[in-house]
Amino acid sequence: MNHLGFDIEKLKIGSFDFTCCEGCQLQLANKESTLPEFLALLDIRNFREISSERLDDYDIALVEGSITRQDEVERLKAIRAQAKVLVAYGTCACFGGMNAQKNKFDKEECIRTVYGDKEIDTMQESHKISDFVKVDYSIPGCPVNKEEVERIVVSIATRSPISLPKYPVCVECKQRLNTCLFDLGEVCLGPISRAGCDAVCPSGKTVCLGCRGPADDINYDSFVQLVREHGLSEDEMKEKLAFYNGFAEYLNHEG
């Protein structure tokens, strides 16, 4: 393949899923208009969801999902050993994701509620993949934003630096000329969440729940202040902060 006059080798890529909804992988098949060009960059070696072919010589592993069972740790380590570059793909892989909402319940209670007496193997917590292996790049989002994925994959192919937006969702929300949801009496996590989704939730008139995790250098204390000034519920704020597990370190912080 040729990019700006340079010959680029196709990226040998593998895609692997752990505990998740597989929505992030599916984004690879979306944006159908650019899909054939995007596929032209890739040599898909292992992608169980769309192909029966399983080859183990991939350079880049896209890893989706959180880790909730011991056998997943072994499989993840084997993938890490093979991959030159390992990408945490989506909020489940980056932060443990909404799966982590089970962490507040005792695992025996979880099993009993869903399965009764049947024995089920599961960990107490839903883990992000960096709890077990080194992660080279993270692409957050629930689901990931296909445009961002295309941009990052092209950057890897052309060996250009990779970066995520450092600023919060509010910046993109303002660019879209939305009415701020705080003015409509709702707690929105836009002021502290990392942009890059084009503020898709507030643009649909629902609050940001922070699926992309914290933006760089957030001012958490003034965010709490903002919630208080608007007379909004701090319990609701906490429920939202806990939603995708991206703000775990802030949750018990007194603002």
């Binding site: 752990f18 505990t19 969801e49 609701e236």
Partner: protein, 424 residues
């Protein structure tokens, strides 16, 4: 000649989630055939406990990356019924259009990218890009049309943002609706192209009688709410979903199995078709006739054809819905409500079949109990028993290991199973 072999397909490819096919044959006789689901559970029924009702649809949509709109709407329907909220008519229609978009993209993904390679003998759809570029292109364009419908109505194709309790938080603009209507007109010929292509494929000849379960209201082809019916003549109210599911656990799977009147039953496009044939759009009926598909059809491989027939219905119906919305002022889209205690079931027809969410709320609008029963959970037992019957039939016809293996893989795939969702 007596043959001995074991088939052990670990993590069946081209399906969503992790399931294994295990078959053993001794002296040419089938000893065992299992559909072993090894997926990790996520415990959604526990996660909803204590969560505010308004947040629940955003959580449960994450049960599935393919049919997140269905999960969102099943939760919304159960919670609206539990808290006695009546969404405005305009919101009801917008939600229906969103469901159509989701089903179209899901069926297109399955038909062209997961199932077609089996029939063409390729490992994925990528080689089809060379051999049948116009078919892959038709598949992509139909899938994109589905996604565009979902994006216009819910803000995003996967994990909707504007489906909320009480209605929708934002209506699509008229300009966007008009654009999508044009897209439908332009892309209708793709459906005919797909039909021509699928007519050239050989559908395996296999029949195992089963009980098909779906929603039914006698007025329109089913999508959101209605009575629960089966081809064995059972009819129940939506809130009686437990009588239609009877979940039980098996030692070799992390998913549960269900049954109604027989050892197993099936949900999905073929089940909807079998129970609601008369309510299909005439264009869809014509497509069914082209394949010789008639109710009640007991060949599970025909589920692929039923999905294609439904694509015809969806596209024709979506066009009519858009006309309706273009005549509407799109202002009355969300009802106000106060939290209250209650309990109810919300049933919707997800792309893969009838999906139940049951929710109980307290007077503060927090969920105290949840139960979700996914279509694939209802299909797992049927897949399991079908595998047994299919392997036996293939052996009796003198088929060897490779042929049995291929047929079994195709059979499981024809259900379009969503394994990771069935373990939830």
């Amino acid at each position: 000649m007596k043959v001995d072999f074991n088939i052990d397909i670990h993590h069946l490819p081209r399906v969503e989630g992790h399931g294994d096919i295990r078959i053993s044959v001794r002296d040419g006789k089938l000893v065992d055939a299992k559909w072993a689901v090894v997926e990790t559970p996520r415990f959604f029924e526990v996660m909803v406990k204590g969560l505010s009702a308004e947040r629940v649809p955003f959580l449960t949509s994450r049960i599935c990356g393919i049919c997140s709109i269905s999960h969102s709407l099943a939760s919304i329907r159960s919670l609206e019924r539990a808290m006695q909220i009546t969404p405005p008519e305009t919101a009801r229609i917008i939600r229906l259009l969103a469901m159509h978009g989701e089903t179209l993209q899901s069926h297109a993904l399955h038909l062209f990218f997961l199932a077609a390679p089996d029939f063409a003998g390729t490992p994925s759809a990528v080689p089809l890009l060379q051999s049948h570029p116009e078919v892959v292109e038709a598949g992509l364009m139909l899938k994109e049309l589905g996604n565009e419908l979902s994006i216009a109505t819910t803000g995003r194709a996967t994990h909707p943002v504007s489906l909320v309790l009480g209605g929708v938080s934002k209506a699509p603009s008229k300009q966007r609706l008009a654009e999508i209507k044009q897209m439908i007109v332009d892309r209708k010929p793709m459906l005919d192209k797909a039909t021509e292509f699928f007519k050239t494929l050989t559908i395996p000849d296999f029949v195992r009688e089963t009980e098909f379960i779906s929603l039914f209201d006698g007025e329109s082809y089913p999508y959101i709410g209605g009575d629960l019916v089966t081809t064995d003549g059972v009819r129940r109210d939506e809130n009686d979903y437990l009588a239609m599911t009877n979940e039980y656990t098996v030692e070799f799977a992390t998913t549960k199995f269900t049954k109604v009147s027989r050892e197993s039953s099936a949900a999905g496009a073929l089940a909807r078709f079998n129970n609601n044939y008369d309510l299909l759009h005439p264009q869809a009926k014509a497509a069914a006739e082209a394949f010789g598909l008639k109710p009640v059809c007991h060949n599970p491989f025909m589920n692929n054809v039923a999905q294609l027939v439904e694509c015809h219905h969806l596209v024709a119906d979506a066009e009519e819905i858009i006309d309706c919305l273009l005549d509407d002022d799109l202002r009355d889209i969300k009802a106000d409500y106060k939290p209250r205690a209650g309990a109810a079931t919300g049933a919707v027809e997800a792309p893969r079949g009838v999906l139940y969410h049951y929710m109980e709320t307290d007077e503060n609008g927090k969920v105290v109990k949840g139960d979700c029963i996914i279509p694939t959970t209802q299909n797992n037992a049927n897949i399991h028993y079908d595998l047994h019957a299919l392997a036996e039939q293939a052996l009796a016809q003198g088929k060897g290991e490779k042929e049995v293996e291929k047929l079994c893989e195709m059979l499981v795939r024809s259900y379009d199973p969503c394994i990771s969702c069935s373990v939830h």
